[in-house]
Symmetry: C2
Subunit: 490 residues, 2 copies
């Protein structure tokens, strides 16, 4: 088979782009920066959504829907938020088109909005403006709401899934009576994201606090999960923000506590997006195509029949159909590719490209011997196995594959975390090894900024339960009490 | 209990609005014409989505996602489409805000888009511009894709769920090699909608063809399902369009058939929206609140404990918990409202307002007698029943309620279909009886328009398998071969 992808070694960025296109996940659209998510890519996103939605509901959250548009003035209400968000946005200024003389359409100058509307880049402002009417007393709290929605941030340099002008996401917005409860919610949701990343995406993540520089605009604390991609770069995969009373103050949201005293409400927000698709792809895939963890694979097993003539086709298909049903009965999502228009070799390559975790090939000799060929996508190994009870073997194998994909990614990450104590080492490691660098930092935004300007590496997070140790800042030599994670990031 | 709703008789429109607000389904937002869908309303929408999504997948469709924005020029490409759609739209003209001197934000005049972007009112144009790259040969067909998305149409007079500037919907967009296949798809999807309306919404619908006047902009034929609301007005609840080759020609989408000949592709599109929520509410609910068919009720059964003191509370709750588990085991969605902060009477009214199909009340006497009180929301009747095996009784009752809600709506509709042969009768029936009027029509758009101008009644549809009979147009007296359905409509 001719290779359809640029190899990772040759050009990692090109490999990623090739893979997204060739595996039929997404493509660029006619609108700058906006992508089309194709059916196979969307099917993976649906699996991500379904699992996260389950986890949100298990932790007591409900879904709701808030407007796409936000009045411009809302952004000015929270000072930090406007700085961070109201800049690169899609602005709606008119509400009507009209015909021109040439048979085209033009914007009707008479249909100018009094106040411009911003296509939501995130929904804190419109939601807190709504919560104001929902909250009077402590009895109305907590409010635990999530929204699945599209948002728009006018990015200049875009990459499929990783950074697009429009993207899909979920945003949780909760309101609480106490600071402690809001902090606990912030932590709970970053834990939900970490569990999801590990158990479903098979992707190890480090949880921690963002530095002040990297905090969400309007938050008192931002927690994140950080994953390592195969090029050693970090990908922030989810964030959970403790917003304090900032938005409650900006939108004047108060509640009467049990004693009747009025207090501002405490808030959190948290989100993950279609960026997770980028993380999933880059964490596991190889030069032959996607590698999907079984739990997020739209097709877990594909059966390919091997035959020379119509009679063989019928015989093999009959057996294949039996196996398909046995797998279905076990709750395994299986595709039996009986198409007579494509050769087995073409099918093998196609499902390899699409990352189907297991491939079963079934020919006449198998039927005579009572065997079947089982090929694993993650290891690219194959083995002839007894056909009898193959559904149980497949069931176990899928669990094994899920675990081994995780372990492989974990080992890769562990192998690429470097403890560094001097500036020369820092620069050399970044240049020649990549990965995550554990180094001391003097705790100032200036130093963080200077390191980033010099090396393009930023502080990804200060991990939870970070070991405390005396040290010296890798740039300034000033005293430090803990190492933080530096890395180049997506 | 004080009535919380205006009665239907007093003011139907006000009753509807009261109900949507008081039952916690939706409310108006700070953005003109855009609604907030509240958790309880969204939970019903999620049930609608889940079932429709299942039915779309069973008929071979896949989901995908296309951009929110459409370049302005795309609308000019299909002549009828631009007339129908590109007028009342949200237009994005700029992509950046900047700070002004007063601490607010203004639109940055330097960030003007070269070509304005329209927030999608429907996605035919952007999708067919995409399909152009996906289709070369007959092997690439059919394409059977659906999208769940938000759309925006700048409506001047809005009503929650029924007509809002932004709404949620699904839009199917399919591409076919032959005219016959596209027509079959158009029909299949209106059948899916009709089945969904009947079996899940418990709402009878009439399927038929729209007249030319009422056709989708760019379609050769529009099929619809029409339901009768309790005020006798019609509500168009779903449409399926046969688009012919119009969009393929506008976007130059051709395929090579088996002989290598290039032909334009045939298209359909079909959609239902959050408008279905309005239909669901208006079809069944009463002056006490929502009446939900069990299949779409977020909570099918609520259990309310009745007690006088802590000891009784514990005893009743223990038994209630047993029943909850027994119902859950049957796959019934049940809420056990153990809250000690609200009285039973308050809870009864609350769940009546929210349309929970069955309420079980459980007190000390019930425990002594081995009984439980079962109250039906649809009939407002209650009955004391044996507690033993109550889960089986509930299971059967839910099926019965689903059926009876449908039958009640069907009877109401049958009672309000009037066969009318003269203009005086037509006007009199519309004014004094309402409902659907079966009348002859001469088949011209002019007459249809004149009738609508005179009476506000429009032709809802020409039903499938419509009996053919000789008659005279109710307005012009010209010859007609069949009756059509006239009604005032939402």
């Amino acid at each position: 088979m001719a290779k359809v992808l640029t190899s990772r070694k040759e050009n990692y960025a090109q490999w990623y782009n090739d893979l997204v296109l060739k595996a039929g996940l997404a493509e660029n659209s006619a609108v700058r920066g906006c992508m089309v998510i194709k059916p196979y890519g969307y099917a993976i996103w649906e699996k991500i959504q379904a699992q996260l939605d389950r986890m949100f509901k298990e932790t007591g959250h409900e879904n709701a829907y808030f407007p796409l548009f936000i009045p411009k003035s809302f952004f000015s209400k929270e000072a930090d938020h406007v700085e961070g968000f109201a800049k690169e946005c899609a602005v709606v200024t008119h509400y009507r088109l009209k015909n021109d003389e040439k048979g085209g359409v033009i914007v009707d100058p008479d249909a100018k909005l009094e106040e411009e509307l911003i296509v939501r880049p995130t929904s804190e402002t419109i939601i807190w403006n709504t919560y104001k009417n929902w909250i009077q007393s402590y009895r109305d709290l907590p409010i635990l709401i999530n929204q699945w929605a599209n948002v728009v941030r006018w990015e200049m340099r875009t990459r499929l899934f990783l950074r697009t002008a429009e993207f899909l996401w979920q945003e949780g917005h909760t309101a609480h009576a106490t600071r402690a409860e809001a902090i606990a919610e912030t932590k709970q949701m970053i834990d939900v994201y970490a569990t999801f990343a590990r158990e479903h995406m098979a992707m190890p993540v480090i949880q921690g606090h963002k530095t002040e520089n990297e905090r969400f605009a309007g938050a008192l604390d931002t927690l994140s999960i950080e994953a390592m991609m195969q090029d050693g770069k970090a990908l922030q995969s989810g964030t959970s923000h403790f917003l304090g009373q900032n938005f409650a103050k900006a939108f004047d949201v108060k509640f009467a506590d049990k004693t009747g005293k009025l207090e501002h409400v405490w808030a959190t927000s948290w989100g993950v997006s279609t960026r997770l698709m980028g993380a999933l792809i880059m964490a596991h895939s190889d030069d032959n195509g996607l590698v999907l963890p079984p739990k997020l694979a739209p097709i877990e097993v594909v059966i390919v029949p091997i035959y020379r003539n119509d009679e063989q086709y019928d015989t093999v298909c009959e057996k294949g159909e039996e196996i398909r049903k046995a797998l279905l009965k076990k709750g395994i999502s299986v595709k039996f590719d009986k198409r007579d228009t494509q050769k087995p070799g073409w099918k093998f390559a196609e499902y390899e490209l699409k990352g189907v975790p297991l491939r079963l090939a079934l020919g006449m000799r198998d039927i005579e011997n009572g065997t079947i060929e089982v090929a694993r996508r993650d290891t690219l190994t194959k083995e002839v196995m007894p056909m009898e009870g193959i559904e149980d073997v497949v069931d176990k194998l899928l669990v094994e594959i899920q675990d081994e994909i995780y372990n492989k990614a974990l080992k890769f990450r562990e192998d690429n975390i470097h403890y560094v104590d001097t500036w020369d080492e820092f620069v050399d490691t970044l240049e020649n090894k990549g990965g995550f660098i554990m180094a001391h930092w003097d705790g100032t935004s200036e130093t963080e900024q200077e390191i980033q300007t010099k090396t393009k590496a930023s502080i990804r997070c200060i991990p939870f339960d970070n070991p405390q140790e005396e040290g010296k800042c890798v740039l300034t030599g000033k005293p430090s009490k803990e190492r933080v994670i530096f890395a180049k990031a997506y």
